[in-house]
């Protein structure tokens, strides 16, 4: 088990090094900072001096190591567009994204498991068929169209919920939260549904498939033969064994929720890191893009690692033969 953990950690570090390399290459290949910083009337001596100051005359590997060191300290320099510290901008925007991701993650998990169980138990029921068909439509419906549809119904036609922004937020010093005000909560509803819906359909389909597979197993038949109640069979015996793959996928989805937040945040003009990133892409603001990439990859890798380690906690079979979990 220890060997497995070490291997997983090493793998995670490799991923971070590679993404760091990608982020670093973006700096070096897209635009020359020296060109940007010096005016029209420059001499070759000026260029050389500035190159020396910025460390651009050093070998590639040295520059890369320096970049990693800076990145690890959260230092990505100044945003080309806003002229402020990238890390400060990110810290300011992050709470909005995390709150949105948290709520839609809960929604996806709750709804996904609930509907998944329902459609697995009542396979031939009308409600299952309706839900399954809707889920297929949901998968085909791009996130941004769901958002627009919700805005049209609940903001334009009914006027119940705001169509953009975060509402009023409470500043806690290092964190701004929309959970504590009515307008903040109202503003959260539509983006959270938009963001969570796709993940919900995924989780639902997964739970359904796993559940149907498990319900076919011998020990379930045996439990039935023992005369256990249907509820107890479904939840205590069957559901438990479907949870391992569900946790994996959910963990991975958590990462993609943060990434897909880019789309939702753009539709709803939600002031999070996703909106920041898409603006950075539009205006080729490399420091912001690189910082976002690094931040996201740290999150993803961390989540993946935790999910993998959770396996051991959940599935006792893995603990018995330590070689399992090679994938």
């Amino acid at each position: 088990m220890l060997a497995y953990i070490i291997r997983r950690v090493a793998q995670s570090i490799l991923v971070l090094l590679v993404t760091g390399f990608v982020a670093f290459s973006m700096f070096s290949f897209v635009g020359d900072p020296v060109e940007n910083m010096l005016g029209q009337e420059r001499t070759q001596a000026d260029v050389d001096r500035l190159r020396g100051q910025l460390g651009l005359d050093q070998p590639f590997v040295v520059q890369y190591a320096k970049f990693l060191q800076q990145a690890a300290q959260g230092n990505f320099g100044l945003s080309y567009r806003q002229g402020r510290e990238v890390s400060a901008i990110l810290a300011e925007r992050l709470p909005a994204t995390l709150e949105l991701a948290f709520v839609s993650g809960l929604l996806a998990l709750g709804g996904g498991i609930g509907f998944g169980i329902l459609t697995a138990i009542r396979r031939r029921g009308i409600s299952s068929n309706v839900i399954m068909t809707l889920s297929l439509v949901g998968v085909s419906l791009p996130t941004f169209l769901i958002g627009i549809l919700l805005i049209y119904v609940f903001s334009v036609e009914l006027g119940w919920l705001p169509s953009f922004g975060r509402g009023e937020v409470v500043d806690l010093g290092w964190w701004t939260t929309g959970f504590l005000t009515v307008s903040g909560l109202k503003a959260l509803v539509l983006p959270a549904i938009t963001l969570g819906l796709y993940q919900m359909t995924l989780i639902m389909r997964l739970v359904r498939t796993e559940m149907m597979e498990v319900l076919r197993m011998d020990y379930i038949r045996f439990a039935r033969a023992r005369g256990l109640r249907e509820r107890s069979i479904n939840f205590r015996h069957a559901l438990r064994n479907t949870l391992v793959p569900v946790i994996t996928i959910t963990g991975l989805q958590l990462g993609s929720i943060i990434a897909f937040a880019i789309i939702t945040e753009t539709v709803f003009q939600w002031p999070g890191v996703g909106l920041l990133f898409i603006n950075a892409v539009q205006f080729v603001d490399i420091p912001v893009m690189a910082a976002y990439l690094m931040m996201i990859s740290v999150m993803f890798v961390g989540i993946n690692l935790i999910v993998d380690l959770l396996y051991f906690a959940i599935d006792p079979r893995l603990r018995v033969d330590g070689k399992a979990g090679g994938h």
């Binding site: 897209v30 085909s140 169209l145 627009i148 049209y152 169509s163 789309i263 990133f277 950075a280 893009m289």
Partner: protein, 317 residues
Amino acid sequence: MSDHQIEIETRRTPGRLARAWNGDLAYSFRHSPVAMISAFMVALLVLSAVFAPWIAPHNPFDPGSLNLMNGFTPPGEPNAFTGEVFLLGTDDQGRDVFSTILYGMRISLLVGFSAVMLAMVIGVVLGLLAGYLGGWIESVIMRIADIQLTFPAILVAMLIFGVAKGITPPEYRDQMAIYVLILAIGLSDWVQFARVVRGATLVEKNREYVEAARLVGRRPFSIMIRHILPNALNAVLVIATISLALAIIAEATLSFLGVGAPPTKPSLGTLIRIGQGYMFSGEWWILLFPALTLLALALSINLLGDWLRDALNPRLR
């Protein structure tokens, strides 16, 4: 485009695919109303996109034929100033929405098809190499695949788009946007293909017929392409279909976010982006019709892909 491809593959491997095409697959197709309807929808949409210049009543990209007075004409009603009638209305610049949808669909489909082709070629080649050669080549390829899979494809595509935009000089950006989109979506989507092809190759390469081919003296390249690849084609075809729907959605998403097809050469996503601005002021048709078209396109390709997966792999049922 995909019909053409099936034809080539049929010729290469008359055994497996031709038999499937004439037998089970066609049978399953004839007995699945969903498959038939969605195939009809796909055919209809693709054909109307291909023949857009002949079908469309206006050319939305010809500024000479536009009349600003026609702006914001509701669908089916005569314009207050010019009296002209437009089937699906007009947008802010007086462009016929029906025509912009037809032309927009061309771009959406072009990007989608080309991106999937690119992803397929990269994925199949790398998958074959990884599976057949093994060793450090396999480790490197599959590690890269793992790392890329850590990130959602749309994010990878955005990054590639952003970097490519930074490299291209500003005056070429609009022209290059479509190629950059194809590159971005294609490069973000090859991993699926590589994984499946590698899996199939690992199984097939130890079979006796491959051994025989090797003993006869066929070179590795021709063994991979001629002997192993045909056995992975079913799976590749299924992934390609589903990827096509995903690629079209990805393109629409990128364009909607403003990091895709430019307003001068709008795809369905760009049209939706334009239309969203008029949602609050009541010009719903500018948004609704492109959105419905995109939905119909993605949904019917998805349904077709679902059917194909079940039909080609009876074990999944």
